[in-house]
């Protein structure tokens, strides 16, 4: 039961579309993006927001937005072949600190692919760190299925190495825009992200992916996913933005999931991404963790 004294942390991912491929957007787009950030921090009480598609140009804008608040901004801007990592982290520095960072890439035929950014988070509530891997994988428009699957294989390999180096049951969260729906082979067969919560308890190599529950057009009223593609042939909705959890969160070691598989579909956000004149196309996703006090 959650109470006012709950020790909790709310995490979110949002692809802001501010700098696709390092480009720029209009001032109006920027102002609306700032409004979304403030909405997530103030109304949704997000403590840690990983924000996608934010080039160096916008780092100062975000820092200014957070001025004199207890939130800080840390950009993740690293080159990777012809592309680059261009996301950042807005976080409540009174609750969370980022204590370690590692860029994850793989190379094939001399092309570099971005797997993710592994950051170790510490909260004021626990000695136990959480490894968060933030990813933005390529769109189906630019990469074939074989390469997409290699992203899942290589990320799983990195996690396996980490588990063998450290501790089999580490607290790991995967989040980002995978440009894949939860049911796609790369996530289910290679990254081993499953809808089956109880199976994760028996097989800790699996990740729990709560976003399966948000699939299903028949249940849809205003929005049916996190990504809206205006020219989609069979569907305009996809669930490309997800937050997945390693077994200790399901076994409720140190942390438990208080909210999971949630897409923030406030009316103003849905209107923003379905408006053909605007360049937004993603809704934020959110998860809430509660510290377990024994």
């Amino acid at each position: 039961m959650s109470t006012a004294t709950t020790q909790s942390v709310t995490l979110s991912w949002w692809n802001s579309s501010l700098s696709p491929k390092g480009g720029f957007r209009t001032k109006a787009h920027l102002e609306e993006a700032k409004a979304v950030i403030l909405y997530l921090i103030k109304s949704q009480k997000v403590d840690f927001l990983a924000i996608g598609e934010v080039s160096e140009t916008y780092s100062q804008v975000i820092e200014d937005l957070l001025f004199e608040s207890n939130y800080e901004y840390e950009p993740c801007l690293y080159p990777s072949g012809k592309s680059k990592f261009n996301h950042g982290y807005i976080y409540n520095s009174e609750k969370i600190s980022i204590v370690d960072r590692e860029i994850l890439k793989f190379k094939e035929n001399n092309r570099s692919y971005r797997l993710g950014h592994a950051i170790t988070l510490r909260t004021i509530y626990s000695e136990v760190p959480v490894l968060l891997i933030v990813s933005h994988w390529p769109s189906n428009l630019y990469e074939n299925k074989v390469i997409k699957n290699k992203h899942g294989i290589n990320l799983k390999r990195y996690i396996d190495d980490l588990r063998s180096n450290y501790f089999e049951e580490s607290h790991i969260i995967l989040m980002g825009d995978y440009n894949l729906d939860p049911f796609e082979e790369c996530l289910t067969d290679y990254l081993l992200a499953t809808r089956d919560r109880s199976l994760v308890i028996k097989k800790p190599e699996l990740f729990y992916n709560p976003y399966w529950r948000s699939l299903g057009l028949s249940e849809c009223s205003q929005f049916c996913g996190s990504y809206y593609y205006k020219s989609g042939n069979n569907t305009r909705w996809h669930l490309f933005d997800q937050i997945m959890f390693s077994a200790p969160f399901i076994k409720e070691y140190e942390w438990r999931l208080l909210e999971e598989g949630k897409i923030i579909g406030h009316q103003f956000l849905v209107e923003m991404i379905t408006d053909h004149k605007k360049k937004f196309d993603h809704l934020p996703v959110i998860a809430k963790l509660e510290k377990i006090n024994v």
Binding site: D100, E102, R122, Y166, Y253
Partner: protein, 150 residues
Amino acid sequence: MSNFKDAFQSGIKEAKIAQSNIKEITSIFDDFNIDIHDASNKVIDLEIRQQYDSQQDSPFNRGIASLVRDFTNIGRYYEAIMASNSIKDNVEPIELCEWKIGVKGYPVKLSYEGLSESCEDKVSLISALEDLLRHPATGRKLNSLIEKSN
């Protein structure tokens, strides 16, 4: 119905692929070493050597250790590319990067300075080793070895 013959053939085939890949990777590393040796006026030698990391400084590990209440055996062994001064024996070798070869040879993973990169083939590995050399931290390490031979 078991199919041990097919499994046997498959295992032999995979072993041959792995053997061929590892031979190729060894050859790339040998060329890498020769080029660095020449470029450094024969001062620097490279080798792959097993290292031990106590992991006492790792923030991730310290937290995990506190969770399992076990501060023993948290270290790990790994392989690394080590650079040494071939002229003076008393100069401590320096680690350039962590190096991990896959079961089938590829991928080869290089980890250094907050980067972890897996290379799926020959051309990618060569390119990743060039990136390693171009990194300012690597330049600083190699330069310090060269300066110690004066």
